[in-house]
């Protein structure tokens, strides 16, 4: 699974943000954009959002649900949850080492 994530290259960040946004339930495109802006401060544009969504769909990490008007919600899949959990674990390890090496206290 790690090898699959390594292949994302420069798209890793949008994918991670989208998977994080969908982790607590399905959202449509604009709701994903506003949610990402709220929790990360990243203002994702529509071109980047749908480029990343199409790749996530192809990898089977998200799936589209039935449309509600022109809006189509997306849902994270079990494989998407697995890759997100793995990535978060890796990030936690990096943060832990960074805190130890810089002398930062937990919760600071």
């Amino acid at each position: 699974m790690r090898a699959a994530f390594d292949g994302l290259g420069r798209f890793a960040d949008p994918w991670l943000l989208i998977l994080t946004s969908l982790a607590d339930g399905p959202r449509h495109g604009y709701a994903i954009m506003t949610d990402i802006a709220a929790f990360s401060g990243v203002r994702m544009e529509p071109g980047s959002l749908y480029g990343a969504l199409s790749r996530l769909e192809r990898r089977g990490w998200v799936r589209p649900l039935d449309t509600a008007g022109r809006r189509r919600p997306y849902q994270i899949t079990a494989a998407g949850q697995e890759i997100l959990a793995e990535q978060v674990t890796t990030m936690q390890q990096i943060v832990q080492v960074a805190r130890l090496r810089t002398g930062m206290a937990w919760g600071a």
């Binding site: 449509h28 495109g29 604009y30 529509p46 071109g47 480029g51």
Partner: protein, 134 residues
């Protein structure tokens, strides 16, 4: 960039994406643009998306792909047909000069193809498999 211009350009750029991409995501992106305030950044982002989608084989339509494949096959066939007599002639000359010895029973056509290896031998001093031939 003025907001009105950015919005018009953004909507135009959605139509620059491949037809299959528009069929799948076009309405959704237009819906997002209805709620989003497009800026110059939005325009640049959609332009990059359109270029990326046009280059992505997954979004190319058969209508665009098949003529390209047919044209490539035709060019390859014409090139092969043009080279065949030349290679045969080179092979025949090589055979006559006794630079190599075709196996008994080989005809001129096979000599032509075999001569290709002979030319490589002459150029590099060894056969393709690395054995010294000179």
């Amino acid at each position: 960039m003025r907001p009105g211009l950015a919005e018009r350009l953004s909507r135009a750029l959605v139509s620059w994406h491949p037809r299959r991409w528009r069929d799948r995501y076009g309405e959704e992106v237009l819906d997002v643009l209805d709620q989003h305030q497009p800026t110059a950044r939005t325009v640049a982002n959609l332009w990059a998306s359109a270029v990326s989608a046009q280059l992505d084989p997954a979004w190319r339509t058969d209508r665009l792909l098949l003529p390209r494949l047919r044209r490539a096959a035709l060019i390859a066939a014409v090139a092969a047909a043009s080279l065949a007599p030349v290679l045969s002639l080179i092979g025949y000359q090589a055979w006559r000069d006794d630079q190599w010895h075709p196996a008994a029973g080989e005809n001129l056509l096979s000599a032509g193809f075999s001569a290709h290896a002979a030319i490589l031998v002459t150029a590099f001093g060894q056969a393709i498999d690395g054995t010294d031939m000179v």
